[in-house]
Amino acid sequence: MARAATTQRKAIVTVAAWIVGIAIFFPILWIVILSFKSEGDAIRTPLEVLRAQWTLESYTTVQERSNYLRHFWNSVVLSVGSTLIGLIIAVPAAWAMAFVPGKRTKDVLMWMLSTKMLPPVGVLVPIYLIFRDLGLLDSRVGLVIVLTLINLPIIIWMLYTYFREIPGEILEAARMDGATLRDEILYVLTPMAVPGIASTLLLNIILAWNEAFWTLNLTAAKAAPLTAFIASYSSPEGLFYAKLSAASTMAIAPILIMGWFSQKQLVRGLTFGAVK
């Protein structure tokens, strides 16, 4: 009896998990389906859409009309660049907050997080003007700076949480063993925090890759990443569903693939410390 009850429970939980999973994944799935339909079929009712003929028509048009590779490369440069620079700043910052906390460390952490609560549009105009004056509009350098800054609080917070799990005595041992601060961070702290750093890196690449507000507002053509590539197919009339879907699919495919292959690392990093 007990076994039957357990099996039943398992079945219910499994079904529930699948429902949640499909609910989350469905929009993406639907975009992928739409991208393989003709423009005319894409606006029909769902059942008709499913029955309609499959075609690569949208992909060819999108390829002809815009330069996917350039946008893709911009996305790579912006997301990887901003994340790496962010990490270089955040590792020492998180080290300081985790291992030599001062009276105000908690406040600094809260203050950093509070910047994430500000609606970005609130600072759009000043940043736009500064960028215009500095000649940073529509440049990769400018966007890397912005993306680094907006994700820095999250990077520092994540690293701070991981570093707190590392026993301070090990760093003290390194100090006793003759390590300088640089050696201590480079040879002891960083290698020990690899799971945490890796998941921070992955998560921030994803966040930066998907960031749309700043990338759309501060770029025009040269530095435009894939978000701008998608946006160029959106129209208020909604007449280009298929092409828009094709562009979206192409834009999210790389990050989706990366996420798929690194999911183990991501989950391990995100639950680091939660389960000992």
Partner: protein
């Protein structure tokens, strides 16, 4: 060389004064044990010497050179931590090599020193394992190996054995003592266990609330404790302290007599009492006796293991007056 001098050293954390002005000299090659109850500042004192904490005032000299503001890395001291503090991402070999790598010791010299340390510590077969794959005792040996290869001025041990089980602790104790004999390097060892202190030390420093209560060889502390605190802290089972009428007959505020310095008889003696609990260890028996007219605290008496005593028995006790300690109202030795 490894002569360490502390001159009027103090340490406070914010408002809390952990170490009041303190002077101490540790001679080259000495095995010094800092002992005291938890929170007495012994670990803090060790960390001040190590440089892991900054002194609030005063001066620390190592071999005559002012080390007060030196970073730990430059003091030439090696430390073994209670938690071993091994680098979990490195193999045993790399753990031991780390301080030499930091010091820029040439590769072949590193290899030579690792091999000899591994041989001395029975770690040769484990050099390529990670610390996570080792037992507690092996980990502690790796931590000691990491300390030895640096050829430091002095070794600092911060309760290195408290995470080990009892049998292993006794073994490691002997190993550390043998190490001291063969290296003849200064060692400073922190523990709350007075047995470790008694068995290992050349010199014991008894601490209470940051103050040095007494400094001396184990037998000096045992024979002539300067005050009640040291008297009851050193020795196992601990010294019996008796106050009141009985103490006054000896012209003291309180008297102390060790359990092994009381003779037991069934027919006559100076004091008499009733047997409470008897702890049979085989070789010895510790008898807790409720002395008549001697307060509510039972006296602990150490008797031969073969002596038949049972709960409720009436027995007579006679202290060895030669070995009786007398203390004044401040708890100081008379």
């Amino acid at each position: 060389m490894g002569r360490i001098t502390l001159d009027q050293v103090t340490k406070s954390f914010g408002e809390v004064n952990v170490i009041p002005p303190l002077d101490l000299t540790i001679e080259d090659g000495e095995f010094v044990v800092f002992v005291g109850p938890s929170g007495c500042g012994k670990s803090t004192l060790l960390r001040l010497i190590a440089g892991l904490e900054d002194v609030s005032s005063g001066q620390i000299r190592i071999d005559g050179a002012d080390a007060t503001d030196m970073p730990p890395a430059r003091r030439g001291l090696a430390m073994v931590f209670q938690s071993y503090a091994l680098y979990p991402h490195m193999s045993v070999r790399k753990n031991i090599a780390f301080p030499m790598k930091m010091a820029g010791v040439p590769e072949d010299e590193q290899k030579r020193r690792i091999d000899s340390a591994a041989k001395a510590l029975n770690l040769t077969d484990y050099l390529d394992r990670r610390p996570g794959q080792l037992s507690g005792g092996q980990r502690q040996r790796v931590a000691i190996g990491r300390a030895i290869v640096r050829e430091p001025q002095a070794f600092l041990f911060d309760e290195p054995l408290s995470n080990l089980d009892a049998a292993l602790r006794v073994n490691m104790r002997l190993e550390i003592m043998e190490l001291h004999k063969s290296l003849a390097t200064t060692m400073i060892y922190v523990t709350h266990d007075q047995v470790e202190a008694m068995t290992m030390a050349d010199k014991i420093v008894v601490l209470r609330a940051g103050n040095i209560e007494q400094v001396g060889s184990p037998l000096e502390l045992y024979r002539e404790p300067r005050n009640e605190f040291v008297a009851s802290f050193i020795g196992s089972p601990k010294m019996n302290l008796i106050r009141g009428e009985v103490a006054r007959t000896y012209g003291a505020q309180s008297i102390g007599i060790r359990p092994e310095h009381i003779a037991v008889s069934t027919d006559e003696g100076l004091w008499h009492g009733t047997v409470g609990v008897a702890e049979h260890l085989g070789s010895d028996t510790f008898v807790h006796v409720h002395g008549h007219g001697m307060g509510s605290e039972p006296l602990t008496v150490r008797v031969d293991g073969e002596l038949p005593v049972r709960h409720g028995d009436r027995i007579f006790l006679t202290p060895d007056t030669e070995k009786l300690h007398r203390f004044d109202a401040q708890g100081l030795r008379l």
